[in-house]
């Protein structure tokens, strides 16, 4: 089974997957923050090619699109790890933290998607909680990810 584990240096060991993941997270953050009325006020949408950032319905649509990709990616990487890589690699402590935060983002994101269907689904107070927790998970995930990049912490390590 040597080939089965060849080139599996970790969850983001595959260069293509790593690039897709990075672009995906960047787009999610870009469009996610675009749900707040800040890009027009702070001239971001004046940058050539970024005028679409001022349109809330467009940023929401793109956010959904990249969320679709994230869900596919998370499922692929998760299954890939469980089936092929778990034998040789184990998830690091910072990996577990990032997985937990990502799970929080995905879970609250799914609730967001449900909420946006008609009519009244969640109570106003729960929606406030949802807004704050989704943003909180994202901020924590970005901070932990930045820390991991700086101190070169990987998602997984050799067993």
């Amino acid at each position: 089974m040597k080939e089965l584990t060849a080139g599996t240096q970790g969850i983001t060991g595959n260069r293509v997957i790593r690039i897709i993941y990075t672009v995906n997270i960047f787009m999610l953050v870009l469009t996610g923050f675009g749900q707040m009325p800040i890009y027009k006020r702070y001239y971001m949408s004046d940058i050539p090619g970024f005028s679409w950032l001022a349109n809330f319905l467009t940023t929401r649509y793109v956010h959904y699109l990249v969320a679709v990709l994230l869900l596919a990616l998370v499922a692929y990487i998760g299954m890939d790890y469980l089936v092929l890589k778990r034998k040789d690699r184990e998830i690091t402590a910072t990996g577990y933290v990032r997985i937990a935060l990502l799970a929080g983002i995905v879970f609250t994101g799914i609730l967001f998607v449900i909420k946006n269907f008609p009519p009244y689904i969640f109570s106003p107070n729960f929606i406030i909680f949802l807004n704050l927790s989704h943003l909180g998970f994202v901020m924590a995930f970005l901070l932990v990810s930045l820390f991991c990049v700086v101190v070169k912490k990987k998602w997984t390590t050799s067993r």
């Binding site: 707040m36 027009k40 006020r41 649509y61 869900l71 499922a75 089936v83 092929l84 929606i127 949802l130």
Partner: protein, 311 residues
Amino acid sequence: MFLKGGLAAAGSLAAATLPASAAELKDDKQQLATLIDIGKCVGCEACVDACSEINSHKFADPEKPFPKMYPARAKVSDWSDKQDVNDRLTPYNWLFIQHATVDVNGEETELTIPRRCMHCVNPPCVKLCPWGAAKQLKNGISRIDAEICLGGSKCNKVCPWGIPQRQTGVGLYLDILPSFAGNGVMYKCDRCYDRVAGGDLPACIEACPEDVQTIGPRDEIIKKAHNLANEINGYIYGEHENGGTNTIYVSPVPFEALNKSIEKGNGKPGLDPIHDTMADANNLAAAMVIAPLAGLAAAVGKFYTLTKEDK
């Protein structure tokens, strides 16, 4: 005016219904809608005055001078010295009368149309508010909580009719970073949610001398609107616009004609056909269900490919 009286009479026959009972109004488990019979409206503005009077305690009392805004692009929006303006929507005027001069049965007639928040079934202002300051109640009322609104005006941008209006110098943003984030509070019709909760009619409905508006469970109001439209050979607006609203207009002339005639702009909503703005992204939800399955299938496929090559 004679023709208008005739239209009103026809309308009153068709929609001769008692207002919703107090019990119906207090029942918060079903969406309540209003039927606005344009043919009955005489443009007396009793509803406009009643709205301002009953809701005056909700209006902003801004602190001046306003915080300096950065960057300069963020403009203050101050209506506090123009509270009497009633020919458009403002933070101090949540309902106004729109005028349209149209051809009714070959005669040029002026129709008057009460305009306020449509209270969408799936309101973008509520669903897309980044803080949850805009709230939808179970009875279909959407309202903005002035205690927590930061005045970013996103609700105005995502509303197909641009209904919510901003007043600077009031609200939570003053306690956070007033120069850099937020810009006041957004205001709009809350269909007198507090009165309705107590079993009372919204002020505009109660004050109307012509019984232009009827309120009741949405399905009943839709039925009444269709009956009325059939009787006067009229037209309906609001049933399907933006995915459906809780404000159903019935007009003796096509809304296209009304839309051409009314004055439109900031605080003066149009009567365009509006597609379901929330549905565009909502339609991607199916892809969100399929996406993880596709990811799992790809990983399993990779496993089998590698296993096959290994053999």
